[in-house]
């Protein structure tokens, strides 16, 4: 057995293995280092002998491939920090101190405990006990045998050995065995004692910033940016797992929940009883009696506390993978001082070498949504240089012309799958095959070992032709994963893909009834009978192809909108930018420098010039969206611009919403009432004024309007901004007193360097909580700010020449736009993407994308990456000449429709429309390209006029009848 890296070392696997259950490719691999035949030069060959398809080839050798490519994208990911290097956490010595990844595997249903939450010290307890007992009984038997030979008791044997045993072979052997038995008895006693105290974890601690924000014991000065969120998530899930309650405590320095809806998740976690303790733990000690762990820490009030936990989870940070330095040298790209790829804020996915792009953690520590955004951005950036060679190396998939089977009586073929042993170990597949032969309209039945394998697919094409099949039923696994594969094979056989039906006899039979083969087999027959009955009724459905208008409409002319337009333009696609104001630039017009010190106005100036000079981009200023209609590939939008009444109608294939956001005007802290109180950009504007230039003290107040009940989200960029400005003030005048009043400092990622720099320069950080917000007063010659210091625990009074408020970032008036484009808005009023992690720039409405601040507050580098991503996602549509519309859509029988409009009301996609067919006579018609086939209209329709194709009442009810008849 080999340590299983997939299970973070907590389980074992064999030398021939599948990386994980759902691995893609779904194939076994030989780990040659641990293979007896390949790595150890021994005779084995068992796997080749037992493989039914002859897939094992020991002669395969490593090959060198020369690839010619137009661009390279590096996405080598991260390496989790190894806490074994620190002795403080005792990770190497104590089994119940685990890393966060190990904890993920302990929670996972596919992990070493099948999702049963257990302590690692007790993971192998049962097996160890059994092994010790077995070993001991074997030793006792051998000892008895030897004692019998001499006819002596154990005590007598010992005396004999002492006097004469050393030269006698049998006596020597007896002595060795007796020693082994004593050892094993001791071990058994220890294991039994351990079993007495064994228990599920009831109290777990998470320790944050292990290998992050740490320059004493390692060189990772940066914040890994993801650990606060994953610790909260693990604590929430662990609490769900534990049947009789679980105490969870997270020990942290600053809680960095800065992403979209992260703060709300943090709030919910606090409400659910997860304890958050602001303290960095420096020692983890063992409690030997019960394998518990003792943490010593200092509370906020300065008390030393010692507390025991059943388990400790180390929230380890992300590092650039160790091979990266060699790879970077080989590729000739620069890395930064933390070994992440060096990039500019204005070209966040471009490395120092043209044509080589980067995304994910290799670019810098980050979470999944930003990794996915950058991945699309890197694809967009790579494609920008290659558009002249688009489609030159890819083959377009073509299918034979469909055979019209509508007039034919059903000829159904049934294919019953063994799925290796996955189905056949429980369900008697041969019986199901025989049964299927007896069903009406079935003309052919076949048993397959693996229906999804390539050879089985090829055979399916042949059989469909030979047997002249016009419906196919496959009884196998889940249609969710495999229906598209079989449907494609049908299309390869000149059949419409909707003439396919799948019965899931794996999940619903062999898996859930693993202990009852008879019932599982009967149920498999029932499912096949139901599918066959429906298959006789299903009909081919048209999948109309509609041409794509190869241009984009981009709403918003800020950095995000302009970058997405340029990314598309370089790929040869036209776009129209619709900007509300009289100039391009948006929020970036107010920014001076990025956190890395790059000049924003210089970049912006060039960007605007580039956009204006680009023939593929049309810019409309003072513009407003009046109306929009259509569907993916074929939108039509009416826009007014430059204050004229004349309207312009724009046809476009995709829409990108990049409408930005704004900082609020605070109602507190004398904002607007004192010229000494600024927000954000107003400080930059006043930078060279006498007030700021001659000031001897300055105060920054964080979270003004953010992370409060009425606006729970974190505005993400304010901590970095204030810390950066504080450093700049100190640079100009080192004697100045600069205070930052904060709740948590959220300088995530490599921005942490800036925070360290601010502290080094003597910027004073004072933490406050929402119950004791700072109080600003106007006094003669300046401001007076009173705040309760969290270390001194009493009010301190600061004199300030000016104060800067980090006011919340929010969107303005996006509800109307959201309604026009039929896209949702989140609770905190930002556009809501279809999937936060996996589709971070897509809306549920096909062909509509989002980027920039309208998605969530973010710094300029992330806005640019997201804009490139939106363009890349849009290009996947614009690159197609036409797109196929799904056939499973609603349909209205106009003879039954009375035009009540119920379907129009319930449809979330705006697909049904009431059309006047005669005076005052309305009927509903479905715009098929907009319909998602959800069936809401069919449910709402009072007359039965609306129905959904492929799942109409007749097709569904016949299955119900088949289920109930014998």
């Amino acid at each position: 057995m080999v340590i299983d890296a997939y299970n973070a070392g907590l389980g074992e696997r064999k030398a021939i293995y599948k990386y994980y259950a759902q691995a893609i490719p779904s194939a076994y691999a030989i780990d040659s280092d641990n293979c007896r035949q390949l790595g150890q030069g021994k005779k084995c060959g068992i796997c080749a002998k037992v493989c039914p398809t002859g897939a094992i080839d020991y002669k395969q050798k490593e090959q060198m491939l020369d690839l010619e490519v137009g661009a390279v994208i590096l996405s080598t990911g991260f390496h989790a920090f190894d806490p074994g290097r620190f002795d403080t956490y005792n990770y190497a010595g104590l089994p119940n101190v685990v890393t966060a990844m190990e904890f993920e595997r302990l929670l996972s249903a596919g992990g070493p405990t099948s999702g049963h939450l257990m302590r690692p010290s007790e993971l192998s307890l049962k097996a160890d006990l059994a092994a010790a007992e077995k070993g001991l009984s074997k030793l006792h038997k051998q000892l008895k045998q030897l004692e019998g030979k001499y006819g002596k008791t154990t005590g007598e044997m010992y005396d004999t050995f002492q006097s004469a045993g050393k030269d006698d072979k049998d006596l020597r052997r007896w002595e060795t065995l007796a020693e082994q038995a004593t050892e094993l008895e001791n071990r058994l006693r220890d294991l039994k004692a351990k079993q007495e105290t064994a228990h599920e974890p009831k109290k777990i601690a998470w320790l944050q910033c292990v290998g992050s924000r740490e320059i004493n014991q390692c060189d990772n000065g940066y914040c890994s940016g993801v650990c606060c969120m994953y610790a909260i998530k693990e604590a929430v899930i662990a609490k769900e797992h534990a049947k009789d309650g679980l105490e969870a405590a997270i020990f942290f320095m600053d809680m960095r929940t800065y992403g979209k809806e992260f703060e709300q998740y943090y709030n919910r976690a606090q409400e659910s009883g997860i304890r958050f303790v602001r303290s960095r733990i420096h020692t983890v000690e063992s409690v030997p009696e019960n394998d518990n762990l003792r943490l010593g820490y200092v509370t906020e009030s300065g008390d030393m506390v010692s507390e025991d936990f059943d388990m400790v989870v180390l929230s380890v940070g992300l590092e650039s993978s160790p091979e990266m330095q060699d790879l970077a040298a080989a590729l000739g790209i620069e890395l930064d001082h933390y070994n992440f790829a060096a990039t500019s804020s204005f070209a966040p996915v471009a490395t120092s070498r043209p044509g080589v792009f980067v995304c994910g953690v290799l670019q810098g520590p980050k979470d999944i949504p930003l990794s996915v955004m950058e991945a699309s951005a890197a694809a967009g950036a790579a494609a920008s240089n290659l558009s002249s060679a688009r489609h030159t190396l890819v083959k377009e998939k073509t299918f034979p012309e469909e055979r019209d089977v509508r007039a034919e009586p059903p000829r159904i073929g049934v294919f019953v799958c063994n799925c290796g042993v996955n189905i056949s170990s429980v369900v008697r597949v041969k019986e199901v095959v025989e049964y299927a032969k007896s069903l009406p309209n079935v003309v052919y039945v076949q048993e397959n070992l693996f229906s999804c394998s390539q050879d089985a697919q090829d055979k399916l094409v042949e059989v469909i032709k030979e047997q002249d099949l016009n419906r196919v039923v496959v009884a196998a696994c889940s249609p969710r994963t495999h229906e598209p594969l079989f449907q494609e094979t049908l299309r390869n056989s000149a059949l419409n893909k909707y003439l396919y039906e799948q019965a899931n006899i794996r999940d619903q039979c062999s898996w859930v009834h693993a202990g009852d083969p008879d019932a599982a087999t009967e149920k498999a027959k029932d499912l096949v009978r139901m599918s066959v009955s429906r298959a006789a009724l299903i009909e081919p459905l048209p999948m109309p192809s509609v041409p794509v208008t190869a241009s984009a409409l981009i709403v918003g002319g800020g950095v995000a909108g302009m970058v997405s337009a340029l990314t598309l333009a370089k790929q040869g696609f036209k776009s129209t930018i619709v900007e509300q104001k009289d100039r391009l630039g948006g929020h970036a017009l107010k920014l001076k420098k990025t956190w890395k010190g790059e000049d924003v106005s210089e970049f912006l100036g060039k960007l605007v010039e580039e956009v204006k000079a680009e023939a593929n981009i049309d810019v409309l200023l003072n513009a407003e969206i009046k109306d929009t209609s259509g569907f993916v590939g074929n939108f039509k939008t009416t826009v007014s611009s430059n204050g004229t009444e004349s309207l312009k109608e724009i046809e476009h294939g995709v829409t990108i919403l990049a409408t930005g956001a704004h900082s609020i005007a605070p109602q507190e802290y004398f904002y607007g009432k004192s010229e000494r109180v600024f927000r954000w950009h107003e400080l930059d504007e006043a930078w060279d004024s006498d007030l700021v230039k001659n000031a001897s003290s300055a105060v920054f107040i964080q979270c003004v309007g953010s992370r409060e009940p009425q606006r729970p989200h974190c505005s993400k960029i304010c901590c970095t901004f204030s810390v950066q400005k504080a450093v700049e003030l100190k640079e100009r005048n080192p004697d100045m007193d600069v205070y930052i009043l904060y709740r948590d400092i959220r300088t995530y990622g490599e921005r942490e360097d800036l925070y360290k720099e601010a502290r080094r320069r003597g910027v004073i950080f004072v933490r406050f909580d929402t119950d004791h917000k700072p109080v600003v007063e106007q006094v003669e010659g300046g401001l007076q700010v009173t705040v309760i210091d969290h270390i001194l625990r009493r009010p301190i009074t600061l004199k300030a020449d000016f104060a800067t408020l980090a006011s919340a970032i929010e969107t303005r008036d996006i509800a109307g736009l959201a309604q026009q484009f039929k896209v949702p808005v989140s609770q905190d009023n930002f556009f809501l993407e279809v999937h936060m992690k996996l589709r971070p720039v897509d809306f549920a409405t096909d062909g509509v994308f989002v980027c920039g601040l309208a998605h969530y507050p973010k710094p300029i580098d992330e806005s640019i990456a997201q804009a490139q991503a939106a363009a890349a996602r849009a290009a996947t549509i614009l690159a197609q000449k036409s797109i196929e519309v799904e056939g499973v859509v609603s349909t209205v029988d106009e003879t039954l429709c009375r035009g009540c409009g119920k379907c129009v009301e319930v449809c979330p996609y705006g697909a049904p429309q009431l059309v006047e067919v005669a005076q005052d006579v309305h009927v509903s018609r479905i715009q098929e390209a907009l319909c998602k086939g959800c069936g809401a209209c069919a449910v709402a329709c009072p007359t039965g006029a609306a129905a959904i194709r492929h799942f109409n009442d007749r097709e569904v009810l016949t299955m119900v009848e088949a289920a109930l008849c014998e």
């Binding site: 990386y19 893609i24 490519v69 994910g360 950058e374 790579a382 688009r390």
Partner: protein, 64 residues
């Protein structure tokens, strides 16, 4: 069409190094916009770090 076939001297293929969630997304977007992709992964399956996660924020849904 041969491997070295080009348009204007430009090669319509991209090499993606690393088959985690970022590599997979980049590969899919490129393939879907008309470029041939070589996806390189050192392990026996794609998926990377995300495939090891149990559940993910915010819906606590399965990471698979």
């Amino acid at each position: 069409m041969s491997k070295s076939s080009r348009g204007n001297g430009t090669i319509g293929a991209v090499l993606v190094v690393g088959g985690g969630i970022a590599g997979i997304q980049a590969a899919l977007d490129l393939a879907n916009s008309g470029y041939f992709v070589h996806l390189l992964e050192k392990g026996p399956a794609i998926g990377g770090g995300m495939a090891q996660l149990d559940k993910t924020f915010p819906t606590n849904e399965c990471a698979m």
